[in-house]
């Protein structure tokens, strides 16, 4: 009912506005359309300029309110390059933005119709066209060059000795895996996945899987100033590992393994100090729509010193041990593994990547 009343009200308001607008148009005809057209024209020219100036003020205000909410300086070495590149791009596009908008509104005002001025018949000028084709082209080439240089670095091979961390997306959380003492990720097979006791589908027949450490709450620990490579995949639909503070992002695609590496340069503790926010935490966002819980798919990253990291790692129990606390556990596991259909056909992409 209230919806109906509201709709009726809106229509009523529109009718009133329309009637007023129409009456004003009739009044114009009485006053003489020519005269009105002239005064309207002047008014619109002025209003456009007013809007432009208000717009500039608005940009300033917006910056004042929102800039402080922005991210702190990049927490990764690679992100610093991103920031430099962003500044160059901002300066170039910002200058073009201001210049072209200013010219647009200035021309609009200056060349409003006047009785004493005739428009100038000016149909083309090849020299001008060449100028404003070449200059943008050259500028863009500079931006492309900077961009590709960074792109090649970021997407290049991860340095030797980088800490390898697997991040697997599932609806709607992140699961983190470390290779454990042997430094090798155990084989996985999606057919072995069991939410109760084998969340990643580890193949217990592979000895390398027995010491793998799995963090189910989506908290990834990494070492400050040490390269880290994320080995990313997904169990169900496409997700995306977003690390805004490190200026990094990579899709998690089921059936395909993707990677991303970077070098953290600020520990979580340092960042807390830097931002003056004691609740500061590096967050992992999901940046690819993955279903109804997409917005809640939150993970975290803890950057710490090598010592802190080692202490933390030593406290973690291998996933196998957690799932098989009893002594007889290994035997059961083997049995489980053989019962699962067609493990032979399974692919072990994770292992291939991890051992590269």
């Amino acid at each position: 009912m209230s919806g109906l009343i509201l709709t009726a009200l809106v229509i009523l308001v529109f009718i009133i506005i329309y009637q007023i607008a129409k009456a004003s148009e009739y009044a114009n005809i009485i006053r003489g359309e020519e005269v009105v057209a002239k005064s309207t024209n002047k008014l619109m020219a002025v209003l456009l300029v007013v809007v432009f100036i208000l717009g500039l003020y608005g940009i300033y205000k917006c910056h004042q309110y929102l800039a402080p909410l922005g991210l702190p300086e990049s927490a990764s070495v690679q992100g610093l390059e991103y920031e430099k590149m962003l500044h160059v791009t901002l300066i170039i596009t910002g200058a073009v933005f201001l210049a072209t908008q200013a010219v647009l509104f200035w021309f609009s005002y200056k060349y409003q119709a006047r009785d004493d001025k005739k428009p100038y018949f000016y149909s083309h000028n090849n020299k001008l066209e060449v100028i404003w084709t070449t200059i943008p082209a050259l500028t863009l080439m500079v931006l492309v060059a900077i961009g590709l240089k960074n792109w090649v670095t970021i997407t290049g091979k991860a340095p030797e000795g980088a800490l390898k961390v697997q991040v697997m997306g599932k609806q709607f959380n992140w699961v983190i895996r470390y290779a454990g003492k042997d430094g090798v990720f155990g084989k996985t097979n999606f057919r072995l996945i069991n939410d109760a006791n084998n969340i990643l589908g580890l193949d217990w027949n592979d000895p390398a899987s027995k010491d793998d450490i799995i963090v189910e709450n989506g908290e990834a620990h990494i070492i400050n100033n040490k390269d880290v490579q994320f080995i990313i995949n997904s169990r169900d639909v496409i997700h995306d590992v977003g690390l805004p503070h490190f200026r990094m992002k990579m899709d998690a695609v089921p059936g395909i393994t993707t990677t991303m590496w970077f070098t953290p340069r600020k520990t979580t503790a340092e960042m807390k100090q830097l931002t003056g926010n004691k609740d500061f935490v590096y967050e992992i966002t999901c940046d690819q729509m993955c279903g109804k819980g997409h917005y809640s798919m939150r993970g975290t990253v803890v950057v710490e010193t090598e010592k802190e990291f080692n202490t933390w790692l030593a406290e973690q129990k291998p996933y196998y041990d957690l799932q098989h606390p009893a002594e007889a556990a290994p035997a059961t596991a083997v049995k489980e593994g053989t019962e699962t259909p067609a493990p032979a056909a399974a692919q072990d992409t994770t292992k291939t990547v991890a051992s590269k």
Binding site: Y18, M44, L104, P244, M248, I256
Partner: protein
């Protein structure tokens, strides 16, 4: 000229049509419903587009209310959405359905069908001097396929599990598996069927536009004498014909994966508590197929606005468009590049970095023709005699917003920046400005400009100005702040940010944007109201050529019948932008006026 033969043929066909005018009054059904008159079909597209635009915009109001005021409840939403908004609180499932439908409706049904469907149909025959399209029947079919596709999409809003909810890009596996999301049930099937029919409609329309432009120009209407509107419709149609079929292939494979057990897009998936048997497919394949249309699609949306803005800026500045040839060449540049930049939507999908580099280069190249167009528009109004009519206001607004949205494309097209900005609010701000709002501004400019030709009446000016200022200011207030959120990495398509340490502080910004959205939405309703009331009550057009324009549509009677011209079709003697003294005190010379003795052509 090689044109002569086809022209002669075309004229033969015209003679055949001449008899039309003697017929008694047409039946309501053939005149208004199953019409084969390109003008009526154009209006049908426009009205359908407007209805869809209202629905699509209303959806955005609903999800903006959720984003702006996640703690509050809005009983009015329950009235509209029923159990999806119990107690006035939107469910996450339906939030994603609304986001998906908003995108689908606006990109395809409004800014493709409603925009190029309307103006290509309405203007191509009128501006090139033809009595109708090459195939009026196919043209009618094109509308009705669109209509059926619309009905199916509309029906999908009411199915039990809700409409498609995987985003307008509907990436599998999310869209392929009903276990993955409620919206991937029946709603998704209807979405896919609707899209296939939509593409049929676009192909029927597009082939018709191309054929008509190539073959049915009147005597003297060389390609280089066509108004830029026609050039832009021409390239829009070419892009559509080349890329829409690829979308169909992607969609059909998706249907196979959903119902026939194939694994084109699926591999190694564990969902709903069990492992699926699919092995060996690639989810990325779909993205390639989708964006092979998806990217040209944004130019399908953009080009008509560019063409119309060019025409309107020139007419209302009383000055020829600057660099007519450069404008055509840049259109060609945009069209060809549009087909080879699709993978810039996939920089973070794990694609080959080398391939990524190629797409960076090609993507940034597309900024060059766009820049040329902007400079030419600016020079067009330079030293003009500008009449700030409502269409002119929207054309100026178009240029302003195109610049603002276009420049951020240089950021996103550069993959090293895109890594951070991908799928954040920055992207929302970028594409809403450049292909959403600015395409809308081109469309509004076109509607206000050609309304007198469509209905023989003017739209109300005062309301038009109010509409312009609210929309123009509103668009900037809505999308400008989003750039900041995007730079902070704030992900798009989130139902609620309150659990995020990094983003919960943006709540006041979101609330502000929502308030502006609501106001701007009502301004659009005002436009819709103005449109329909002016159709019947607007100030009547008294002269054949109210804007004193040079193009051929203004040589037809105020209320043209099917066939457009009462007498023979006018011949064309000059280019479309002769805004100069005609020697009789007029500041323009229509295309059908022969060159004066000693006068040189353009």
């Amino acid at each position: 000229m090689g044109n002569d033969a086809t022209l002669a043929h075309a004229h033969g066909a015209h003679e055949h049509h001449e008899g039309h005018h003697d017929h008694p009054k047409q039946h309501f059904l053939t005149k208004y419903i199953f019409s084969q008159d390109h003008k009526m079909i154009g209006k049908q597209y426009l009205v359908t587009g407007i209805i869809w635009a209202v629905i699509g915009a209303l959806f955005s109001v609903f999800f903006r209310l959720q984003l702006g005021f996640p703690e509050s409840s809005f009983p009015i939403m329950e009235q509209f959405l029923g159990h999806w908004a119990k107690g006035g609180k939107l469910t996450p499932e339906f939030y994603y359905a609304l986001v998906t439908m908003h995108g689908t409706i606006l990109v395809f049904f409004v800014l493709t069908a409603g925009l190029s469907g309307t103006f290509s149909n309405f203007l191509i025959p009128l501006q090139i001097g033809a009595r109708d399209m090459a195939s009026p029947f196919m043209n009618m079919l094109s509308y009705w396929f669109f209509f059926v596709s619309s009905v199916i999409m509309f029906v999908s809003l009411f199915v039990q599990t809700g409409p498609a909810a995987g985003g307008w890009t509907t990436y599998p596996p999310l869209s392929a598996l009903k276990e993955a999301s409620l919206g991937s049930g029946l709603g998704m099937d209807l979405w896919l069927i609707s899209m296939v029919l939509f593409v049929v409609s676009q192909l029927l329309g597009g082939l018709n536009y191309i054929t008509t432009i190539l073959n049915m120009r009147t005597n003297g209407m060389k390609m280089t004498r066509m108004p830029l509107t026609i050039w832009s419709f021409f390239f829009t149609a070419i892009l559509g014909v080349l890329s829409f079929p690829v979308l169909v292939s992607g969609v059909v494979l998706l249907i196979f994966d959903r119902h026939m057990g194939t694994s084109f897009y699926l591999s190694e998936i564990f969902i709903g508590g069990k492992a699926l048997s699919h092995i060996g497919g690639s989810a990325i394949l779909y993205q390639h197929l989708f964006w092979f249309l998806g990217h040209p699609e944004v130019y399908i949306v953009m080009l008509p606005g560019m063409g119309m803005a060019s025409e309107i800026l020139s007419t209302h500045s009383r000055k020829p468009i600057f660099g007519y040839l450069a404008m055509i060449i840049s259109l060609i540049g945009i069209t060809s590049l549009a087909l080879v930049v699709w993978a810039h939507h996939m920089f973070v999908s794990g694609m080959s970095p080398f391939l990524g580099s190629v797409f960076v280069l090609l993507t940034l190249l597309i900024a060059i023709p766009s820049a040329i167009k902007v400079f030419n528009w600016l020079t067009t109004i330079w030293r003009g005699s500008i009449r700030f009519t409502v269409p002119m206001m929207f054309a100026i607004g178009f240029v302003s917003i195109f610049i603002s949205g276009g420049l951020t494309g240089i950021w996103l097209g550069n993959s090293a920046l895109d890594i951070h900005l991908h799928d954040t609010y920055f992207v929302i701000a970028h594409f809403h400005l450049v292909m959403g709002v600015s395409a809308f501004f081109g469309m509004f400019a076109g509607v206000y400009h050609w309304f007198p030709k469509m209905f023989g009446r003017f739209m109300n000016n005062t309301l038009g100005y109010i509409h312009f200022f609210i929309t123009f200011i509103g668009a900037y207030l809505i999308f400008w702040p989003m750039h900041y959120a995007g730079l902070a990495g704030m992900p798009r398509r989130y139902y609620d940010y309150s659990a995020w340490v990094s983003y919960k502080d943006y709540q006041p910004m979101n609330a502000f944007i929502t308030v502006v959205v609501v106001i701007t939405f009502f301004a659009q309703l005002l436009f819709v109201f103005n449109f329909f009331v002016s159709m019947f009550r607007g100030r009547k057009v008294t002269s054949q050529n109210p804007w004193k324009a040079t193009t051929l549509e203004w040589t037809t009677p105020v209320h043209p019948e099917h066939g457009n011209w009462e007498g023979p079709i006018p011949e064309v003697h000059r280019w479309p932008y002769d805004y100069k003294d005609d020697g009789h005190g007029n500041d323009f010379i229509p295309q059908n006026v022969p060159l004066r003795p000693g006068e040189e052509e353009h």
